[in-house]
Symmetry: none
Subunit: 298 residues, 4 copies
């Protein structure tokens, strides 16, 4: 069972449940965490609650591709983890390899350390959903998407759902100095989550998500890569336990869990590229790439 | 199925559903109209929505008499209709019968006219719920409750629920001049609705509500009367259609539909009287009568 | 000193002070009552507070006719009084004169009674400001403006300002039965106040306001009338004292004080008429007359 | 002129102006940015607006030490900059000096680079004001306050005020790996701003703020240090320009500008220490140090 948000014919935002058969039912809650908390309140799983609700409903006539999808949860904060896959360590080492300084070794070190890398990735205002444009940063010449599994957590740190995240990154800024990481990670429309949230209780093995990332330029496939969460160096609960250590988190926080798909080093995103990230049991997250023109956005 | 609002142990206001068996379930909506609108949104009746929600829940341990009930809906406006029963016409004619002027005939006339009497009865700030004190007006010596069926309507004029209303009235001020009607009807705590809203779709025949009104003084029953909506001269939809003619109404507006229970002409309410109005399928609305002392209320 | 509200170049609503010389200064308050309450808080008159503020400011370049004026106060409630002038009594007697019933005498009676007529005229949602369209009621064939002085009062009943009001009225519905008064008075866009509020402390004699009303049809003057508050049968404080008797009012409530300008009996407003009401020391309140088409307003 | 927020006798939060003579006047605005925006709206400086408001007012009887001060602005986001003083570079190099890796050089590098270090420090929920407890992180054994000048900026990046900030930091976690910076900087109650905001237009030379930091243990002064913004390597406008590059910021964002006061390397904060940071023209920011016990904070 997956959860989406979409605009109905009256341009109201509606929560929806998508069954394994692809049928969509509107849900009478204003957001994903209201659903989760209501299920908690009455002592059942969110899945059971949804099943009981949709038993008396008719599904929408539309299929998911016909809906105007919104970000599936208005996450108050998006955090991210890095160097959780071997490939990410190698890529980030590479970024700094032509430098005199050998900062790259900080990636080797965190890969093997007890404490993971965690960083503040985005706020609700900077996070977009499916089909909205990701923006390129104007002062970077080496930008890539980072396709990741996103954990939706409650304020107590419970993993209540899984989604797809795109942690847009500037490899040149980050490679220049690890202290530039926030500038390489946070800017307008630099974080995407969606298109759906898979209920945690419907995922048998979260360490067997298969991710595919494709980048299209002028309708041609120019980058393709895959990864599997079986390659993760860390457990999801381990990442969350560090996130909530001495730290308050809020209902619906999303924690991105690192990437293992890295485009070739000579690749950088360009305006009008199209990014697609897919996990078959969650959905396909597609976004066009745009330059932000000050007139439009200010 | 009836809807109430009550204070829970944390002093938060909670919406609740009361089944025909008297079991109470908290509902995950901030108010009655949010419930109605969410049901509309997902294409089921409010009844179906509630039934599927409570199918997976445990009821409260408390019974309705053990809860601190609030006004069941914070109605933005309460309107009222008059002279919709023969008895009301007679009573209001009587008020003016000792006068030289024969204004009384305006009641005869409206009883038979196409256009009903409608008036602005109350705002949210002046409307109270069960068990809160109704105030006596300081410049009237002939005051009575008017027990009425209240229609809860949506902004489009759809009747979505039925409640009980008490349209407190000053017979002397009103009888003095029909132009004094607003002063005979609107003052602090002069309007009561509650204790519950019966979902419209669970009412088989709205023209068969039996109302009982009892007034107690020093614990003695001093007035009792009954009425039945089968005696109504007008249809509820007819009253609503005049209310929304050229006029904007708002979600959760309540329209009181006139009274047919009139205490004996020598009766007037006194401080510490207790008013009870009951419709068996909706509940019993009880309120003490108080003088308002400027120190308490200012 | 007069107070207005207008839209600035960023389409923000701004409070403004208009000096006797016609210079306009933006005021750093969100509304008229915030100004009044802040003056109270610091123990000066609103006039003194404004004078101190504008001493350090430059006036706007625009004159009042060049600004997009808004309703000068978002009054939570507008109440009105009737039969406060001899002429109003006569007009309302006339409305009913062709009837078999002699309801008209209720107007004679209230004119001479201790208790004035007071009625609930409008809510914020139904009240418009200068230049916005007043709507005609679709089921009336005899509609007129009622030009009146409006009192702006605080929640304690203090008169803090004077404005102009137009209490749109359906003479046929009202004349048919005094019980129809609310339907003859309340509908969408049936109440206008503006264009400015004159601070009470700058009015030497409120019983010497000269009102002029003009109605234009196809740019031709078709009705003109004048009145003066010296002709009032009641004192403003007397009207307010009845309004707040046992009744809670809210900061910024407006009380309209009755009319003495009545168009000829054969006159009724038509679509595209233009209504102008002027009090020289307050301003000129102009509104076009429109039919409301359901498509536009729903 | 300085701006504070405090609780009045009704436990309402009130904005206040503190004159150079120490007199305090309540201001009729809900927050600091509303004051700034209202001044903009009427075309005067915030200083002029305050001066004309208080010209007609009486000051409070209380002095600033007698008020219950709140955080002076509920900043939606607090960002921070690092290595903006030579001393900070040296201190952060030292943190890593005993390591086999030479990450320390990333501090040398950023000190000389065009692009400054910027990081996301705190959200409104994690930021406290004067006298509230800062918490120690449970998994660090080397924790210090970082006393800094804070810039209050508008959503366009204009510097509208100066405050004092305490950027609590874990030197061991940060020193372990630059990728751990967010964990060394962000946790519950790890950011302090206050006690007041000095209006930008009243600061003659922002590069001449003298900071004093004192830490008391059992009422004994155990650490004292001073710094002056004349030692800054960067201009405030330069830091802001990087913060808003491609990035949306929000009215009232605070940007901390780096530290030059570093306690001796053998020093770490302990429970019940008292931290004082003073800039004479802004005020003295005092906070006790506490361990967070899960029972208290959850």
């Amino acid at each position: 069972m997956r959860i989406i948000r979409y605009l109905n014919k009256n341009s109201s935002s509606v929560l929806g449940a998508v069954t394994d058969q692809g049928e969509i039912y509107p849900l009478p809650y204003s957001g994903f965490m209201e659903l989760v908390n209501q299920a908690d309140l009455v002592g059942v799983t969110a899945l059971k609650l949804i099943e009981s609700l949709i038993a008396v409903m008719e599904p929408l006539e539309e299929k998911i591709d016909e809906l105007e999808l919104l970000v599936p949860i208005v996450a108050p904060e998006v955090w991210a983890s890095g160097v959780t896959y071997e490939k990410s360590r190698d890529a980030r080492n590479y970024e700094t390899s032509s430098e005199i300084l050998d900062n790259g070794t900080c990636y080797d070190k965190v890969y093997d350390a007890e404490r993971p890398e965690l960083f503040f990735k985005s706020t609700a205002a900077r996070t977009i959903g499916p089909n909205a444009p990701v923006y390129l940063r104007s002062d970077s010449t080496w930008q890539i998407p980072e396709p990741e599994v996103g954990l939706v957590i409650s304020k107590t740190g419970r993993i209540v759902g899984y989604t797809i995240g795109n942690d847009m990154s500037c490899r040149d800024i980050e490679g220049d100095n690890p202290l530039y990481l926030p500038q390489a990670k946070i800017w307008r429309n630099s974080c995407v989550i969606g298109p759906a949230i898979r209920l945690a209780e419907t995922v048998e093995d979260p360490y067997n998500f298969q991710l595919i990332c494709r980048i299209f330029r002028a309708d041609q496939l120019v980058v393709e890569g895959t990864a599997n969460t079986s390659q993760l160096k860390r457990r999801f609960e381990e990442l969350v336990s560090f996130l909530i250590r001495d730290n308050e988190v809020f209902d619906g926080t999303v924690l991105l869990t690192g990437t293992s798909i890295v485009p070739p080093n000579e690749f950088t995103l360009k305006e009008n590229d199209q990014i697609e990230i897919e996990i078959s049991s969650i959905g396909k997250l597609s976004n066009p790439v745009k330059l932000q023109h000050s007139k439009e956005v200010m």
